[in-house]
């Protein structure tokens, strides 16, 4: 079996945990983690050797002293091509993170690799890897085979559990970058939205509202519930496009991917593009006035009716429960 290369991002204090999900996925395909090479992308990796040591694969490679200009995609692309030139891998796995989803098609076009984007899983059939991916916003699933031997699979995050064997340590090889790293496009500033409270992606419970709420005001009630439950607040795209909530609240195909233990929705119909971002929640519980709403196909517990009447009963009871 040839070696498989995974690209991953290395931040100030840790590597991106999606690499552990990718290792689990490969494990299901009978790829031993010792046969995996991780290509590390990040700033000044030489000083981060202790972080690289914790990636449980056979080998980690990366460039020593690079300033990536805050993960500038045009610079990462140069680094990634350098790594591919050195290793000539047949199969490349890229997690669909913000960085990965940009990088994967760039590499594919540059190197004429075939690519299956946004895979939920890879199946094996006659020694061929077949990517299973949603299309039409998730209304359909397509099984896609790459015709050439050079293959890139970009894999959705939060689908696989993190690989948690700790006693594997990689050998580490640093490369020197010898070409011109300059690009025409420079990141000059990063502006992070202020979020008071828990990050959507990290929350154990997410309380989300949709167009059915009718305006921005009812979100105050959702905030109140979230506070009692130590939860984060999210929204559908309809809500964000209407300006009721900022787009950083958006969950779904073009918003955030979440996988909380409890996903609690109010007035969200459950369009496939919305579910694309939350169907890995462990438990979905929904309030909607339409018993036929799509959301109830995914929900485990449902309450049918007008939220204006249901939420007060819910909130009063919740307050009592929390008090005791």
């Amino acid at each position: 079996m040839s070696k498989v290369l995974i690209f991953t991002e290395i931040y100030e204090n840790d590597f991106d945990s999606s690499v552990l999900e990718m290792i689990s996925m490969l494990r299901d395909l009978n790829i031993d983690s010792k046969n995996i090479i991780v290509a590390a992308l990040g700033d000044d990796l030489y000083s981060k050797e202790s972080i690289l040591q914790n990636i449980p694969v056979g080998k980690v490679v990366g460039y020593k002293n690079i300033d990536t200009n805050q993960f500038n995609p045009n610079i990462l692309m140069k680094l990634a091509t350098g790594i591919i030139d050195q290793l000539l891998p047949e199969k490349i796995i890229i997690p669909k993170t913000s960085v990965g989803q940009d990088l994967a098609p760039r590499l594919a076009f540059k190197y004429k690799y075939g690519i299956v984007n946004d895979c939920l899983s890879i199946e094996e059939s006659d020694n061929h890897w077949i990517g299973v991916r949603p299309v039409f916003g998730g209304n359909y699933l397509a099984k896609v085979k790459i015709k050439s031997d050079k293959q890139i699979f970009c894999i959705r995050t939060k689908v696989f559990d993190e690989f948690d064997e700790k006693n594997i340590n990689p050998s580490i090889e640093f490369f020197e970058y010898e070409h011109n790293i300059e690009t025409n496009s420079q990141i000059i500033e990063r502006i992070q939205e202020q979020s008071d409270g828990i990050r959507l992606e990290d929350a154990d419970i997410v309380v989300a509202g949709g167009r059915g709420l009718g305006g921005p005001e009812p979100f105050d009630t959702l905030e109140e519930i979230a506070k009692l439950l130590n939860a984060a607040v999210g929204a559908s795209r309809a809500v964000c496009d209407s300006g009721w909530k900022d787009h950083s609240y958006q969950i779904g195909l073009t918003g955030k991917d979440i996988s909380p233990n409890l996903y609690f929705t109010v007035g969200i119909s459950g369009a496939s593009q919305h579910m694309a971002g939350c169907s890995n929640s462990k438990h979905i519980v929904s309030i909607d006035k339409n018993v036929d709403a799509n959301i109830f196909k995914d929900a485990e517990i449902g309450a049918v009716g007008d939220w204006k009447n249901i939420l007060p009963g819910f909130l009063d009871t919740l307050q009592n429960l929390v008090k005791n």
Partner: protein
Amino acid sequence: MKILVCVKEVIDPEVPVNSIDIDSDLWKFSPKQGVSKVLNGFDENAVEAALNIKEQIPATDITILSVGKDFSMDVIKKPLSMGCQNLFLVKDDKLDQTDPFVTSNVLYKAIRKIGDFDLILCGRHASDWDNAQVPIGIAELLNIECVTLAKGITVDNNEIVIDRIIPGGIEKVKTSSPILVTVSNEYGEPRYPNLRGIMAAGKIQPTIFSLEDIDLTDEDLISTNEIIEIFIPEKDSNCEFVAGEDEYDIGRNLALKLRDKNLI
């Protein structure tokens, strides 16, 4: 400034699953009778971005380019009625496929034929196959840089600053022409065509290219992927609905049920 916007006609993404037929030999989608095609939503955002630049720099010329097997004129002319100037279409029966490599090759060769552009805008992805690959392919073939996921674009002389969406915020990317940028819905609602725009669009004739016109070779049309199967994911819905005397009581019982199941 010369701007090109690549737009695609897609089956309306909001229609129910059963309004689309799947051809299980060729694995192609086709809308059932009466189901409409629309302009890909993100492409309308890209058109809006181009028009905003034109408002700021009136000497801007906006060209629309689309590639496909056939087009509905009222859909594909929408950018013209919103205020764009030119329309180029590459039309051929062989273009009834979805391989991003093929589509990028065709768009690239068409762009070479049409001329040079300072700014090429695309949607962040097409809502049918959700590929998000074609723009990057075009940039790679044209050998220009690409900035994805724009929420804002400002042009100041030869300097272009893009507000790019990243997790939890934005980053400002300073770049210059020629550059390809993909636009996301966060850019803001596209304008509605007004009557004057619709009249003006009626007078514009699209330039239609065949594959020969743009010097496309057979090799350009070879797809890299093979679709093995398409299916509708099964969902065994077994939602337990909470009962109650009235809606307030349903809310109360819902909270109790969640506590019962240890979910809260």
